[in-house]
């Protein structure tokens, strides 16, 4: 059972590194990178849930042989949606970082909250 769950460890590693970057790093860009790491970790988890052993992509063009097993289509559709959400959130956060840099002149989250 241990050998089968190795891909999930990659998910755990990505989410933990992302959380580490978010909690401990002060630079705004590094926090945004941390959130993107968590995003890709959760997407990877969603995709690995939908895999079947030696299966083919669920596409009928080019007549796959009738006995080939197909991987699950629903997690792939969910991951498509959550990737585009990741892009949207990333674009918004970077726009705010541009404004914060232009207004406070620094990317250090410690010095940004003050009354300026």
């Amino acid at each position: 059972m241990m050998a089968y769950n190795l891909p999930y460890l990659a998910v755990v590693a990505l989410v933990i590194i992302g959380l580490y970057a978010l909690l401990f790093r002060r630079n705004l860009i590094k926090m945004v990178i941390g959130i993107t790491l968590i995003e890709s970790g959760v997407n990877l988890f969603l995709i690995t849930l939908g895999f079947r052993k030696d299966s083919v992509a669920p596409i009928y063009t080019g007549a796959p042989s009738s006995k080939s097993v197909m991987s699950l289509p629903v997690p792939q559709a969910l991951t498509l949606t959550s990737i585009v959400i990741g892009v949207a959130v990333l674009a918004l956060m970077l726009t705010l970082v541009i404004h914060l840099y232009r207004h406070y002149g620094t990317l250090d989250s410690g010095k940004i909250g003050g009354e300026k």
């Binding site: 059972m1 755990v12 959380l19 580490y20 849930l49 699950l72």
Partner: protein, 93 residues
């Protein structure tokens, strides 16, 4: 040399890591989904019901169309937000 903020952060991180690792090892083994009856239904008759050869596109646009409508709205919101935030603000208030 560890400020209490770091200790609190490290504690939170280890709790989340514990949750993740434990749930990873009890979920179904990689490659063997245990109850895939919803996906088998889609794989078996996505050609007749939606006419699309590509199973994933039939899920994205027909079986779960509302997700993709929400999806398109998320992208539309992000573009409206970025364009609004980077507009040239004249000194008004």
């Amino acid at each position: 040399m560890f400020s209490n903020r770091d200790l609190f952060g490290a504690l939170f991180l280890s709790v989340v890591a514990g949750f993740l690792i434990f749930s990873i090892f009890t979920i179904h083994p990689f490659g063997f989904p245990n109850t895939p009856e919803m996906d088998d239904y889609i794989i078996n008759n996505c050609q007749e019901e939606t006419g699309a050869n590509n199973g994933v596109t039939s899920v994205v646009f027909d079986y779960r169309g509302m997700d993709t409508l929400g999806e398109a709205t998320v992208l539309f919101t992000a573009v409206a937000a970025v364009v609004m935030l980077l507009r040239r603000v004249k000194k008004n208030d």
